[in-house]
């Protein structure tokens, strides 16, 4: 496609508010201070399963500055669900502010509100909780037993509705292959922990909540329902967010902060410690996946079946939905005539698992990409050739949802990547090098896709309101929650591009439920695709309205008025110009009209975002360490509105993907249910030394609906990285490891096993 030359779209202009961030001037929620502000600390329980039968809070009250001590005995019994992101959504509704039934080690059993953090903390320590202990089911195996202790009244197991297309059981092909994959729990590791400020105004009865969230309207509905307040009196303001990766999609600590603010008619703040962030917010699910496929001799896939078992932790929250969504994502990459997915969610007496970047794509893609890499090997086919035979073409039907995959370029991702990474040459070289020696090298690749909208899981709309100010500058209100990745910058570019004005003249505000039109929340990688369309349409409509105003002033008809660089003029009098500023002033002073426009768009499609990752690793057979030597990601993004920040996102995906594949895991003590890692000391991540100078390539052929052709990138970047790394390690060692993470001990064990097998063979 011919690329049009734009002013701002597709230009690398850094991030919105980068100046504020490099000078430390930007205020995150936890940086807010106000006179009289109170602080909340929570107390963690000390049993994995049981009941609170008593609470002695007398010691806590003796600490100076204490304003409130909350336990299950003096707080409402009302149920809510952290995972509910809209007022109309159904959810398991299993959580209370403080439940007498304790379901995991470290669950909050009490909270103190005091004048300082220190006082609140000291008072928490002085609360004495008396427990009755129940037998605990810490592992999924224990929780699945018939005589397992009941964590919830309805039992511990939730079966998702199977996702089915075609008839897997009846289909047949020459090769049947089975594989298993496992993903451990990880922490999102947003650098900013959870922070919430809530202020209740006694006079007006209004509640304002500041939070670096992903779903302001969803949080508002949960708080309004929980506190029995009209939504109009609850205002949720999204603050600058220090990273989320899914953990800030859910309403974790807002109910407690809001309750305390209302109860005390005060301004309260709660900031999680890292330990609380790991144990009391949420982790990424641990998942066991079983794949079976039927494939023809020439490599054509006939059918695939996946069974997934997710550990939800102590509360179901989003897990049933997450588990179903995984099945829905089965048909996004390959043309497979017969698909079947069965998902089971198991509650255990462990810390809660929940929303994580890519919402199921990461898990399901890991399972089938590990699988296809094994199948290709069985068939003696190159993994890229195998995929080229099976991937979707543009506008193929995506079977699970009956929408098309849109204008997607799976083939091109594979072919471009193969060439740019010099896949064939590297593969050959690695094979030659691996005959002996301490170090083995390997290459691996994987393919993925993801969403650009939440349609057609449910309807998806975007709303925007744009107002030309009386100096010609522009304010755009859009229900956006920037995760830090540059979505506000993208919206500013879209608006400035349409209005043909300087980027500095455009202000895009992040979501504030008291002024913004409705938004579902910035998840499902929908921000650019839907909200971008809304901003674009809103600005286009606004420009037409301004054109009509200019026609009045210039004594002409709108159809004869041209617009260029922020100025209107009559076609036949190009020298007489009317600026936006003059137009706005004329509108207000003479015509009595404000130049504003609201626009709504609804999603008609949900284009896929093909994404291929290629990687080369060096495995040290003495230490079991894996070094990622080089890697490349190819992304069909439609159009990169912020190419610089898209590259940054790719890097983030590689870094997190390396963590998932090679080192990150939050382990739980199988005996006590205690979360064994609650800090960074023992939590390995890929750092500046580990992450290679990766390459990123973008395919920009443009989507037909996305703003300037843009689709999404924020989540898919991480998805193909773990299976590609798994493949590379297996390629280096000649193994079939699929139980993640592939830590040095796992690798050394595999090498040992291999040597034993070899000596047996001799």
């Amino acid at each position: 496609m011919q690329q049009k030359e734009y002013r701002y779209v597709g230009k690398s202009l850094s991030n919105d508010n980068a100046y504020g961030k490099v000078t430390g001037a930007v205020q995150y929620c936890g940086d807010m201070m106000a006179p009289g502000m109170l602080h909340i600390k929570i107390k963690a329980g000390e049993i994995a399963h049981g009941r609170v039968i008593g609470a002695d809070t007398s010691g806590a009250w003796k600490v100076p500055g204490v304003k409130a001590v909350y336990t299950c005995f003096n707080t409402p019994d009302t149920l809510y669900d952290r995972g509910r992101v809209a007022s109309y959504e159904t959810a398991p509704f299993q959580e209370r502010l403080f439940d007498s039934h304790i379901r995991y080690m470290g669950e909050r059993v009490a909270a103190v509100v005091a004048d300082t953090v220190e006082h609140a903390q000291e008072a928490c320590r002085k609360i004495k909780i008396e427990y009755e202990t129940y037998p605990a089911a810490v592992t999924m195996e224990e929780a699945l037993r018939e005589d397992a202790p009941k964590i919830h009244e309805k039992g511990n197991v939730y079966e998702a509705e199977p996702a089915v297309y075609g008839d897997y059981q009846s289909c047949s092909a020459e090769h049947v292959h089975r594989s298993r994959s496992h993903l451990g729990r990880i922490t999102h590791l947003s650098m900013e922990t959870y922070a919430v400020r809530a202020r209740y105004e006694k006079g007006s009865g209004k509640l304002t909540v500041w939070t670096g969230c992903q779903t302001a309207f969803g949080i508002r509905s949960t708080l309004g329902d929980f506190l029995d307040m009209p939504y109009s009196k609850v205002r949720v303001v999204k603050t600058t967010m220090g990273g989320s990766f899914g953990c800030k999609q859910e309403t974790v600590i807002e109910p407690l902060a809001a309750y305390a603010a209302k109860d005390l008619k005060a301004d309260v703040m709660v900031v999680y410690t890292r330990e609380e962030q790991i144990n009391n917010a949420m982790l990424k699910h641990s998942v066991d996946l079983e794949v079976e496929s039927k494939v023809h001799g020439d490599g054509t896939i006939e059918g695939m079946q996946i069974k997934a078992v997710l550990d939800a932790g102590a509360y179901l929250t989003v897990s049933p939905s997450y588990c179903s969504v995984m099945g829905g994502k089965l048909g996004k990459v390959y043309r497979i005539p017969h698909l079947r997915y069965e998902g089971t969610v198991v509650c255990t007496n462990t810390a809660v698992n929940g929303s994580f970047r890519s919402w199921g794509s990461g898990e399901i893609v890991l399972a089938y990409e590990n699988h296809w890499n094994q199948v290709a090997e069985e068939l003696h086919m190159d993994p890229i050739d195998f995929r080229l035979k099976n991937v979707h073409q543009a506008y193929d039907l995506e079977p699970m949802h009956r929408v098309t995959v849109g204008n997607t370029y799976f083939h091109e991702c594979l072919i471009k990547g193969r060439e740019a990474f010099q896949w064939d040459q590297r593969k050959k070289k690695c094979a030659e090098k691996n005959k002996n020696g301490r170090y083995r090298c390997g290459v691996g690749m994987a393919l993925a896709s993801h969403t650009s909208s939440k349609y057609p899981y449910s309807s998806d709309m975007g709303n925007a309101l744009a107002r030309i100010q009386d100096d010609g500058s522009l304010i755009v209100h859009v229900g956006i929650h920037d995760h830090g990745c540059g979505t506000v910058m993208a919206m500013r570019k879209i608006a400035a591009e349409i209005m043909e004005i300087d980027l500095e003249q455009v202000e895009v505000t992040e979501i504030d439920t008291s002024v913004d039109l409705y938004d579902y929340g910035c998840y499902a990688s929908r921000t650019i695709y839907i909200l971008g369309q809304a901003v674009k349409k809103c600005c286009e409509d606004l420009l037409e309205k301004a054109r009509q105003m200019a026609a009045c002033k210039l004594d002409s008809r709108a159809s004869l008025i041209k617009y260029e660089n922020g100025e209107f003029y009559k076609e036949d009098e190009p020298n007489e110009r009317l600026s936006l500023k003059e137009t706005a002033k004329y509108a207000i002073r003479v015509k009595g009209e404000d130049l504003y426009m609201a626009a709504s768009v609804r999603s008609k499609e949900n284009p896929g975002v093909p994404s291929a990752h290629f990687t080369q690793v060096k495995v040290d057979t003495y230490s079991g360490m894996v070094e990622v030597e080089d890697c490349l990601s190819v992304h069909d993004v439609g159009k990169a509105l912020n190419p610089d920040l898209c590259v940054g996102q790719v890097g983030s995906g590689i870094q997190q993907g390396m963590g998932i594949a090679l080192c990150e895991e939050i382990k739980i003590d199988p005996k006590t249910g205690r979360t064994l890692i609650t800090n960074f000391k023992n939590y390995e991540v890929a750092n500046a030394v580990d992450v290679p100078d990766y390459q990123a390539l973008f395919i920009e052929e443009g989507d037909e609906y996305g703003p300037f052709g843009a689709k999404s990138i924020g989540e898919v970047v991480v998805v193909p990285v773990p299976p590609a790394l798994v493949a590379a390690v297996n390629n280096a060692l000649g193994t079939r490891l699929t139980h993640l993470p592939l830590t040095p001990s796992v690798i050394l064990e595999a090498i040992e096993r291999q040597q034993e097998e070899k000596s047996h063979d001799h």
């Binding site: 980068a18 490099v22 922990t193 600058t240 991540v685 500046a688």
Partner: protein, 155 residues
């Protein structure tokens, strides 16, 4: 306890609690909230400041250690309305995403360049190995530090 120190070039004499974490002192008493808490145990680098020309984790430093010292926080990088070359390069190279690691990252990089104005790629990597960034792949940050060093060389 009364201590004397300089913060971002200004001399200060203050009555402080010497056992208070330097991080809390900076944020709550000096009201400089650009310094962030990420882990409270010196593993993530978000709270990095420069004390006596060395990068330190302010979460593991006590306020008493500030006595007679020279403290620089992210707020002190900009001089007379002009950004430090590192800040300029972080913006130019698009090394800023959510920004929560940025101040610590800048201070680690600043300490490196103060001690070693012409670092190699390897030295840059090692200097920021203790600073976690979750939004990117470190490529932009490494490039920004390298360009800043390059710019200073030219000046």
């Amino acid at each position: 306890m009364i201590i004397n120190f300089t913060v971002n070039g200004k001399s200060v004499s203050m009555d402080v609690m010497p056992q208070k974490r330097l991080l809390d002192f900076i944020r709550e008493d000096l009201l400089l909230t650009g310094t962030k808490e990420g882990c409270a145990e010196g593993e993530c680098g978000a709270c990095t400041v420069i004390l006596n020309k060395k990068a330190v984790h302010s979460c593991l430093t006590m306020t008493g250690q500030l006595d007679g010292g020279e403290l620089m926080t992210v707020e002190g990088l900009e001089k007379d309305g002009e950004l430090d070359v590192l800040q300029k390069m972080f913006i130019k190279k698009s090394a800023v995403q959510c920004g929560f690691c940025t101040s610590g990252m800048l201070m680690s990089a600043k300490a490196l360049l103060m001690e070693n104005p012409h670092p190699t790629q390897e030295e840059i990597k090692r200097a920021i190995a203790g600073n976690i960034c979750r939004c990117g792949g470190y490529r932009e940050i490494k490039e920004a530090v390298a360009s800043a060093a390059e710019m200073e060389k030219e000046e």
